[in-house]
Amino acid sequence: MSNTPRTPGVVPGRLDRDALSLNFGDLHPPLDDHEAMVAADRCYFCFDAPCVTACPTSIDIPLFIRQIQADNPGGAAKTIFEANILGGMCARVCPTEQLCEEACVREAAEGRPVQIGRLQRYATDTLMAAGVHPFTRAAPTGKRIAVVGAGPAGLACAHRLALHGHDVVMFDAKEKPGGLNEYGIASYKTVEGFAQAEVEWLMQIGGIELRTGQRLGHELTLDDLRGEYDAVFLGVGLAGVNALRTEGEEHAHVRDAVDFIGELRQSPDLTRMAVGRDVVVIGGGMTAVDAAVQSKLLGAESVTLVYRRGREAMSASSFEQDLAASKGVRIISGAAPVRLIGDAHVAGVEFAYTQDGPDGLRLSDETFTLKADQVLKAIGQHLDGVPGGLDLEGLKIAVQGPGRTSVPGVWAGGDCARGGDDLTVTAVKEGRDAAEDIHALLSRAGR
């Protein structure tokens, strides 16, 4: 293993094992007991607290922080999980600086919010480490519900349905459950196999059967599911990846950032994970940043993230942008690819600066070329095939209220459904609320 950051091409082992393990360690190490007490003490227990309003799942944040203050982290965790069963993952991946912590009155007062995310992790870790599942399933109802997709929306939906005593069969196309939690999030945000541990912990509620390798439109059809189950919830995510539609896209070492991230997450040994010397990432969202930062952490010599609009339009939060910059990722905004250069392998990308005009974004005549032996595309994802009969809105499944689709007995939530940001926490809320709606409906029908 003699590769270095300067080795040309897409190669593994640019950094040694120790450096990689340091680079891919926990982004925010957990608070210890004393740190948590001090952090919790800063909460003002606001009336009708703005942080709760800002949380898509409406976790009673002042209450759980007060429970931490009162030396009851397990109780705090229960408060969190009652609203958000994936509170552990959300504590790690939520863009808190755009949600609860942005709304925190101490952010307004002094630019230093209460560390809600880290406190949430402290509480949830404490309970999960104790192996405690704090909920007990209601008596079986005899109702069976199919949940398609074991990502955040599906998991939240399945747990809530199981809690109410329904029997759930949860399908997922992939080998492992977790969806983007398992395949789509930067490693340093969810270390030590947390995504799988969380699913196993969640399943302790009982009444949830997991069937993997089951893809809607292939092994499963919506019609069959509707026939076999009392209700169907679709949380299938956005499995399709948008293409650049740019000349040269077919060159080798041009790949989708989601695949790159997924491969990295599943890689048992990061010294075997190949990465280019000069990596160019195209896109401006969380996926782009996760791909860029991890390329750098794997040892790429130069990583450039190029986004077609201005920095302020990037959907990656300013925290994420700063994180990328701090890891040595160069961010270029206001430029779009016009041509991928290369032979068999990609060798560079030609970009044109963009101009925002009345008729949208236009390419200017001014161009530049970046050297690239690996190009990662992160310009968005789309619904991969639409189950028959479902109305769409925009490019997503149209829903009304708590996730009701145009087809009776079928609900949808998470990234595949219209409405809300494409965030883990939003998916959890949608899954949870759909479950409550399904439960209400089935309870009425059953009387």
Partner: protein, 434 residues
């Protein structure tokens, strides 16, 4: 530079900060360190009578109340008086006084309530060259079970009696240290004065249980699964101490009796408050136990800077300054009408004022759209709770309604003149007096 030197009933010290009789003053080594750090005086850890020394517990002696970030708010203590031989203490006192002649050295004494016991110890104490004695009638734990400490301090007749003995058998100034574990501090203070004491010092510690271990069901500090009440001290007890000092300072019988103020003095500001309520010196223990002797530098510098700023040239000019403003409730001006005012620019919209007022007070704060909190003048009784709970300093203030304006709550015109309960029409006593 303000002159911090103090002459308290003839006891001179370069500043009014004394270490109270307590664990920090138990032996020569500690006291030397204190004087080297700059403390003005030391009240030596309480001496007992000749004989086999006192025995302390061999488990934990202290319990604690923590605030945020483990800030110590209060400590309680079950340590008894000195557990070293009397002669050892006396020898050490003599050496320290010889080497620090400009510092105040006061002997705290607790012997049985018998005349011969006091008569026996006083000459030996005098021989150390110390500047005064303090009679420990205060400790609420341990010694009180043997008829000493607060067991004496809770009986004014005993206080008077022992003070008289001491005045008879020593030329040294006599300070009586009072226990707060009584219903009205003025009675023991009056007794001390009647007994001829030169001064009182207060407060000693408050009987307390700091916490209960909910696993073992033992009070803390726990000695083999059992606990005993200890003496509570530190910042938590300061408000109680300030009131007791003021009560003595303004009592007809004890007015002018010199007071050494004790109870949660942690910074110069605490000291200045004790002085303003009538203390001529202050005694410190818990703050030194938590932070070490180095805090004296903050205390002297802070007091000196503040006195310079205010133009007080000596400590005696501060002593008692606030006493005329301590009064009985019945004399408070009922025509002083204020309303809370919220500075919207400073408000961070936490809503604590609203929760406090709406749930526990007078429903005098409205939430307007956009979380804009506004005082309803027609409901506001000016209780101050909103200010107390507001996390932002000066965001909410009390504004006095000008005489002549109408208080929207009562519909009455605000009168310019001072008027109190004694003349209020609702007071049956005021009618009777007519």
């Amino acid at each position: 530079m303000a002159d911090l030197s103090t002459n308290f009933v003839g006891i001179k010290s370069p500043n009014p900060f004394w270490l109270a009789s307590a664990p920090p003053t138990d032996k020569e080594y500690n006291v030397r360190r204190a004087f080297e750090a700059g403390w003005g005086g030391v009240v030596w850890k309480t001496l007992g009578e000749e004989g086999p020394p006192i025995v302390n517990v061999n488990g934990p002696r202290y319990g604690v109340i923590h605030g945020a970030d483990r800030r110590v708010l209060g400590i309680n203590n079950i340590e008894l008086i000195t557990d070293r031989p009397l002669q050892t203490n006396l020898d050490e006192m003599a050496r320290v006084k010889r080497d620090f002649p400009d510092r105040a050295l006061i002997a705290s004494i607790m012997v049985p309530c018998e005349e011969h016991a006091w008569k026996a110890i006083l000459p030996r104490v005098e021989d150390t060259g110390c500047d005064g004695i303090e009679l420990n009638f205060g400790c609420p734990h341990g010694m009180s079970e043997r008829g000493m400490g607060s067991a004496v301090g809770q009986v004014p007749e005993y206080i008077q009696m022992v003070a008289e003995w001491c005045k008879a058998y020593t030329y040294l100034p006599v300070i009586v240290k009072l226990t707060p574990n009584i219903t009205d501090i003025r009675y023991p203070a009056r007794a001390a004065k009647r007994g001829g004491a030169d001064a009182v010092s207060l407060i000693n510690t408050i009987s307390s249980i700091t916490s209960v271990n909910l696993d073992t069901m033992s009070p803390e500090p726990s000695i083999d699964g059992k606990g005993s009440h200890g003496g509570y001290c530190g910042p938590a007890v300061k408000p109680i101490a300030l009131n007791m000092v003021a009560e003595i300072a303004r009592d007809d019988e004890t007015r002018g009796l010199p007071i050494s103020g004790i109870g949660g003095v942690t910074t110069w500001r605490d000291a200045a408050e004790f002085l303003s309520l009538g203390a001529g010196s202050v005694q410190v223990c818990t703050a030194a136990m938590v932070y070490g002797f180095g805090i004296i530098k903050e205390m002297t510098a802070g007091l000196s800077d503040w006195m310079d700023e205010k133009g007080y040239t000596s400590v005696s000019k501060v002593t008692g300054r606030a006493v005329p403003n301590v009064t009985d409730w019945q004399y408070l001006n009922l025509n002083f009408v204020t309303k809370a005012r919220i500075d919207q620019d400073l408000c961070i919209k936490c809503g604590r004022c609203y929760a406090a007022c709406e749930d526990t007070s007078h429903q005098a704060i409205a939430i307007n759209p956009g979380r804009v909190f506004e005082v309803k003048d027609d409901e506001c009784v000016a209780c101050n709770l909103c200010i107390d709970v507001c996390p932002v300093e000066d965001c909410i203030t009390m504004e006095r309604l000008a005489p002549g304006t109408v208080d929207p709550r009562t519909g009455r015109r605000v009168e310019a003149n001072y008027a109190n309960w004694t003349t209020h029409p609702n007071n049956p006593m005021s009618k009777a007096a007519e």
